[in-house]
Amino acid sequence: MTIPLYIVSILGVWMIAEYFLPFLNPLVPTTDMIRTYATILAAASWGLGTAILCLAHGRRIYRQTKDPFWGYSVMFLICFLAMLGAALTQGLKGTTYLWFYNYIIGPTGQALYSTTAFYVTTAGYRVFRFRNMDAAVLLIAGMFVMWSVLPLFTGPFPVLVVIAGWINNVIAVAAYRGFVMGVALGIIGLAVRVFLHKHREVLA
């Protein structure tokens, strides 16, 4: 457990130092190599996620008496093996793989994403009410920004674009800037904790 933590600390400090201190330029090829290794590891992590998923569903099938929906796990494994088989035998540009992608994954992904519209509509009916001053501000700002991207409204009322532009470019930008800086400081804090071995969960 200790050696991986020291690898993380040393490489992390090295990467940061190389970014700021030009006299470390001779180390740049090594830093580039480390970044390339990180890319390879990131690709490998997808395999880990797939393995965990297969194990989880395999467990459900094995203990089928305890889980009434184990049949769906069988369905998952069939689909997974079909897609994997198509990719391994014909490659990522093979007809079978692309058929699965274009006629199963594509439409289901689009269908799921499009449900956002229905959820946003019902959320708006529930949320956008003049309950108090905060809710009123949310309602008014939200409606102006929404109208500004709909030609049905901006055609007859071009002033909506000016008002929404002010909301986006002045108020929203100021709020987001503060927010982004706070998150950036959070990332710095996390880095310090990891480098000092106070956050071991990063090694899973």
Binding site: D32, M33, R35, T36, A38, T39, I40, L41, A42, A43, W46, L92, K93, Y97, L98, Y101, N102, I105, G106, P107, G109, Q110, L112, Y113, A117, F118, T121, T122, G124, Y125, R126, F128, R129, F130, R131, L139, M143, M146, W147, S148, V149, L150, P151, L152, F153, T154, G155, P156, P158, V161, G165, N168, N169, A172, V173, Y176, R177, V180
Partner: protein, 285 residues
């Protein structure tokens, strides 16, 4: 109002089954797609700026294009992406593509086919464009790739061809070799990543093709000029179709969304009316 008492009309309206609300919006959008009506279509500043940015790229330039759309966001981002590619290829711009999301490669192949249809000719691989494939690792991967492309992709393109054998890759090995660039990050909110790893270190002028949901967060970078222009979601696609004269699905969908927005506005107004009526009648939320 006490528990068990009969609900007033306003209270019933406030507790309306969400399936009724969803069904109505479905009917409105479907009707507008099937029977579109003509409405005025003013082009926004975002759309005009993006169109102008694409046209400002000099003829014959070699640019980088991170094209990683997903099936979920394809309907809203395909028009702006393919029409941008059409304009760029018409100007003899050479494009180096890569993807940073695993669902990107199959869609990229489709987008090239659609662009070839728009151009009315086939594109010459290796001369007009090259595909360097999927680069894993998100920000770390992007940083490594934009620092030294050949090392990260092992010196070959997605089909295994040596990059040094491709005319388009002569003199190109890092993000700094591009004066202009684009990224289509679908809805993954990674635009700031490309500002940090591409625009900032190398000074490349970048344009973004992103979902409308991402606009508030990238307005920061538009305000400072770090992102030069954005094709903002479905509206951006419709504006590109309008400005290039290739009216298509995005334009039609924008009309449908406009009427969906009108329904939403009516719903919000009615919701507030019923809310105040029920509050006057004694219900507290």
């Amino acid at each position: 109002m006490t528990e068990g008492a009969k609900k007033s009309f306003a209270e019933k309206a406030l507790d309306l089954d969400h399936r009724i609300l969803a069904s109505i919006v479905f009917c409105i959008i479907a009707a507008m797609i099937l029977y579109p009506v003509s409405i005025p279509f003013p082009v926004s500043n975002y759309g005009q700026n993006f169109y102008d940015f694409v046209h400002s790229i000099p003829a014959g330039e070699t640019i980088g294009f991170m094209l990683s759309d997903t099936p979920s966001t394809r309907p809203q981002l395909e028009p702006s992406t393919t029409l941008s590619l059409m304009i760029l290829f018409e100007k003899d711009v050479k494009i180096i593509f890569w993807q940073d999301e695993f669902m990107g490669p199959p869609i990229f192949t489709d987008y090239i086919a659609i662009t070839e249809d728009l151009l009315g000719r086939e594109l010459e691989y290796g001369v007009e464009y090259v595909d360097l494939g999927y680069v894993a690792g998100e920000e770390t991967g992007a940083a490594a790739f934009l620092k030294d492309m050949r090392t990260v992709v092992a010196g070959v393109d997605v089909d295994g061809t040596n990059l040094d054998d491709l005319p388009i890759m002569q003199g190109i090995n890092s993000g700094g070799d591009f004066e202009y660039g684009f990224f289509n990050v679908a809805c993954r909110c990674t635009e700031p990543m490309y500002v940090r790893q591409w625009q900032q270190p190398y000074g490349t002028k970048v344009g973004s093709i992103n979902c409308a949901m991402d606009l508030p967060a990238i307005t920061l970078y538009l305000a400072t000029g770090q992102i030069k222009a954005t094709a903002n979601g479905l509206l951006g696609g419709a504006e590109m179709e309008y400005l290039t004269g290739h009216l298509g699905t995005a334009y039609g969908q924008t009309l449908a969304v406009s009427f969906g927005g009108l329904y939403f506005t009516i719903l919000v107004i009615l919701g507030n009316v019923f809310f105040f009526i029920s509050r006057a009648g004694g219900r507290r939320e």
